[in-house]
Amino acid sequence: MRLVHYILLFACLLFSSCMEWEYGLEEDFDLSASGDGLFICNEGNFHYGNATLSYYDPTTKTVHNEIFYRANAMKLGDVCQSMIIRNGIGWVVVNNSHVVFAIDINTFKEVGRITNLTSPRYIHFLSDEKAYITQIWDNRIFIVNPKRYEITGYIDIPNMTSESGSTEQMVQYGDYVYVNCWSYQNRIIKIDTKTDTVVDELVVGIQPTSLVMDCNNKLWTVTDGGYEGSPYGHEAPSLYRIDAETFTIEKQFKFKFGDCPSEVQLNGTKDKLYWLNDDVWEMDVTADRVPVRPFLPYNGTLYYGLTVCPRSGDVYVADAIDYVQQGMVYRYSKNQELLDSFYVGIIPGAFCWK
């Protein structure tokens, strides 16, 4: 039997192993000296947990990728959806990780997190101690206390089930917060922040994808029109101008059937509107019709994300390429001159200015 022992021992030693699931190393960042800064939310691939956060300094034209992982030695999560900054804290919404991280915007270190969310999309602050978080696949908007990182309540959305639940971007006008309802929805809802209840709704086209408010207190949303075969309907998408005070549609700009506009954004002075529709488009908020020519014509790039620098007016547009490699962000001046381009993470979808 000694032979068996030896053979077993030999078998144990025969193959070593090297498939380490590595731990990260925490890096120290301090980017407080630089005034400007752009955070890029890279969604990553759904169910692979490879979302990342990138940071770009427009002054030095330097980019830092995977900053959340490098600063915290842990992953950001699955599908980084959006980010906003309030009082030096960045709030990063990670959709399929059911979490919103709070990070220091200079060191990128985590300072806290809100968990137990259904499928968070966007966060909007009402005060230091109260914020709303919209969800998909839930017919509620979560009310949270960001100071305590806890959920304090819910706003039930009428005529919406969990399965078809979808609330998205939020803008505030006075005591009211307006929210576009996107997936299998067609409306903008109006929430009274004093009572945390939905007090009104406005039907627009099928699937309004984004929402902003210009310098004249006009809300802008763009619909994607649904898709072919959808039981909810399929129509030509439209851009809508809505008066925030009266909560009525002032103007509808129709696109061609089959177009796919998205990512409505404003410049720093909120008097110019930008959106994606294969090309990048720019329009004065007082214009009566959509321009004939795009701001940046389609050049083989699959535009996925868009932002405008509130200070310089530079336009940043993200190319997701094939969605399984580092995306590219192109930076253009107001005069459509290419100023810089840099690789970020997988599927750059949202931006946040420091």
Binding site: M1, E20, W21, D138, S164, W182, D224, I321
Partner: protein, 683 residues
């Protein structure tokens, strides 16, 4: 290392003690089974030029708890992508995708007509008596659409006399229970077998989560500490039940009738990602499946010809539920997906030998799929409810003719032509040419080569899934060839050594890939052109090293670059000329089996090289899947009494207790154990 050896010793020491006790017995008089060693010299006409990997019953029945995914992982060099224990496992040949692998069970295709792929974790190896891999071109002999290859699975009559019973109980780590029962009856004409498998486990293995940290806050909610938590695999429980009924009737005059019916009832949770910060009690993520597969067959054999007719039916009901606790104990549906697939199958095939030099074969099969897919319940604009989904039917017709010619014993050539029709669309003629020749009789050195064209139609989901299905997709198409040599040497009863090496190359155009769209859903398109090539090596050694000692070693190795050769999608695209993501370039497996009397020790090892997670092959901190090594061992003892045979087996999986991921964010279990006790009464 000392700790590991201690664990190993504790695990096997009862068997050692038993072994020493048995040493005193006279085994010689009781007879010792040494597996027959034969030299593989003959080359069946049907297999002229084909590249096949066959799995014998020793491999297939090695462990009751293994799925075919586990068997293929440790005994072949094809890539098994495993999303975790008892979760989706797919198989891909030669750098292709899982949907390029065609899978048949008793002749009937079992690839999902919706997804195109097959979940091998749902196929218990104990239900399979005969399995073989048909690499690349060789799959055209069996079916179309196998751009990577085909996996052929089948059952066989047990050849029992009278009543037989076998029961095996397995108990393992993570409260895993595996039970197997087989009842057989046989006489000169009838062979009846009933097999049942039930596997269950909470599957809540512990692991240290390197992907996230737990925060410790002070009273003012400042983080004062962080640590990597030791977590359990959350929401990973499973309960799988399989029952297989077989009835064979052999007239004894060249006719055989067979009935195979296989029912599956599976209830599996889908484990949470490592980066999920949700509470597992607040979410339910569950997949249920009921599948019934049946094949009725008639084979008519004569000296020079044979024909067979088969009819079959598959019914699959699948449910996926993603629910969320609303805080009041009510679980609200976030997603409620249902699909029903009915497939009717008919096949006829014939073979005719013209002398000893010619063999002609013909085959035609029809699979008629009827699919109902319901993915989401919504409220329409008019306030009424509606379901997002599709209902489609599609006939899939495939026919082939072949002529195989062996003018002299040392040389054979085979020509196959196949044509397929899916829906109303036909493929062009699919030709395949196979050659083989004996280079040297000494050593049985045989050279083989083959060349074929092939096509794969889009799946029903590719075409019709809502949202995103693309009815304008073209079928994927490709050319592939391979060439190689094999040898077989040995001495009857002493040793046998076989080996083969082959080179392959394939070009696939219009590869279908699902990508996100600006509208928030995924949609497929004919995106990529791929050039895959490489080398496959196989070797097998069986040797009687001493009286009552037998050693068997089986090894495989593959080098399979699979390169994107399409046009750049955008000017910034870095993926052209790069290895496809999640496709390892190198893979290998080794199985060592040492038998002494009625003891068998098994060592299994497999390896996959680093899998890129980006098409650009960039390696990031958050997207790293380092090379993957895995070692499992087992020790089995068979005790023979007058009234029954008893088998005792202990297995150790993940021997080196590695913390590892097979797929990003999917942790795998550390070292784990299972013990099996089996009984086969002697009536």
């Amino acid at each position: 290392m000392k700790k590991l050896l201690l664990i190993l010793y504790v695990a096997i020491s009862p068997f050692m003690a038993w072994a020493q006790e048995e040493d005193t017995k006279d085994w010689a008089t009781k007879g010792i089974h040494i597996r027959g060693i034969s030299v593989y010299g003959n080359r069946p006409m049907k297999e002229i030029g084909t590249q096949q990997t066959k799995f014998d019953t020793v491999i297939l029945k090695e462990n009751i708890a293994l799925s075919m995914a586990d068997v293929l992982t440790f005994n072949s060099a094809i890539f098994v992508k495993n999303y975790g224990r008892a979760t989706l496992s797919t198989v891909a040949f030669r750098g292709t995708s899982p949907s390029h692998t065609q899978v048949s069970w008793n002749g009937m295709k079992i690839n999902s007509p919706m997804l195109g792929m097959t979940d091998f974790s749902m196929i218990p190896s104990y239900f399979i008596d005969d399995a073989s891999l048909l690499h690349g071109t060789s799959s055209v002999n069996e079916t179309g659409g196998g751009l990577g290859g085909a996996v052929r699975l089948s059952t066989k009559p047990a050849n029992s006399r009278g009543f037989g019973l076998q029961y095996v109980q397995g108990i393992g780590s993570f409260k895993t229970f595996d039970e197997f029962l087989r009842l057989t009856y046989g006489n000169d004409h009838w062979q009846v077998s009933t097999r049942a498998v039930y596997s269950s486990s909470p599957n809540d293995y512990k692991y240290r989560n390197h992907d996230k940290k737990v925060n410790v806050y002070d009273e003012d909610m400042n983080i004062i500490d962080q640590y990597y938590p030791i977590e359990r695999n959350r929401s990973g429980a499973y309960k799988d039940f399989h029952i297989l009924q077989e009835v064979y009737y052999n007239t004894g005059r060249g006719d055989r009738l067979g009935l195979n019916a296989w029912y599956i009832n599976s209830n599996r949770e889908l484990a949470m990602l490592t980066v999920d910060h949700g509470n597992d009690t607040d979410f339910e993520n569950r997949q249920r499946e009921e599948t019934f597969r049946s094949v009725l067959s008639w084979d008519h054999l004569r000296d020079e010809w044979k024909m067979g007719i088969k009819g079959g039916y598959i019914h699959t009901w699948m449910a996926y539920d993603y629910k969320r606790d609303l805080g009041n104990g009510i679980m609200a549906h976030m997603t409620r997906s249902r699909s029903r697939i009915n497939t009717f199958y008919a096949q006829a095939d014939g073979e005719y030998y013209l002398g000893k030099k010619w063999l002609f074969t013909a085959n035609i099969s029809l699979h008629q799929h009827i699919v109902v897919s319901e993915d989401k319940n919504i409220i329409r604009q008019d306030g009424n409810k509606a379901i997002v989904g599709y209902r489609k039917g599609r006939p899939e017709l495939s026919g082939s003719l072949s002529a195989k010619w062996r003018p002299i014993e040392r040389f054979g050539v085979s020509m196959v032509v196949r044509e397929e029709m899916f829906g109303r669309e036909w493929t062009p003629i699919i030709p395949a040419l196979f050659l083989d020749g004996v280079i040297s009789k000494k050593g049985n050195v045989v050279a083989k080569a083959s060349l074929s064209r092939n096509f794969r139609f889009p799946t029903l989901n590719d075409l019709y899934f809502l949202p995103g299905g693309n009815p304008d997709l073209r079928k994927e198409n490709g050319w592939t060839y391979d060439a190689g040599v094999s040898f077989a040497i040995g001495k009857e009863g002493i040793y046998s050594l076989t080996g083969s090496a082959s080179w392959f190359e394939s070009f696939i155009k219009d590869w279908i890939i699902w990508l996100p769209t600006p509208k928030g859903f995924f949609s497929p398109d004919n995106i990529k052109d791929v050039h895959a090539y490489g080398v496959e090596l196989k070797g097998n050694l069986d040797v009687a090293i001493a009286k009552e000692w037998q050693l068997g070693v089986n090894g495989t190795f593959s080098w399979t670059p699979s390169i994107n050769v399409g046009e750049p999608r955008t000017p910034a695209d870095k993926s052209v000329g790069k290895q496809l993501p999640y496709t390892p370039e190198l893979s290998s497996s080794v199985t060592g089996r040492l038998s002494w009397r009625r003891w068998t020790f098994l060592y299994k090892w497999c390896y996959y090289s680093e899998r890129y997670t980006m098409s650009s092959n960039d390696i990031s901190l958050t997207g790293k899947l380092p090379p993957y090594f895995m070692s499992n061992i087992s020790l089995e003892k068979v005790l023979s009494f007058k009234w029954a045979d008893l088998s005792l087996k202990g297995t150790i999986n993940n021997l080196f207790n590695e913390e590892y991921l097979s797929v990003l964010s999917r942790p795998m279990p550390g070292i784990n154990f299972e013990i099996f006790v089996g009984i086969t009464p002697k009536w």
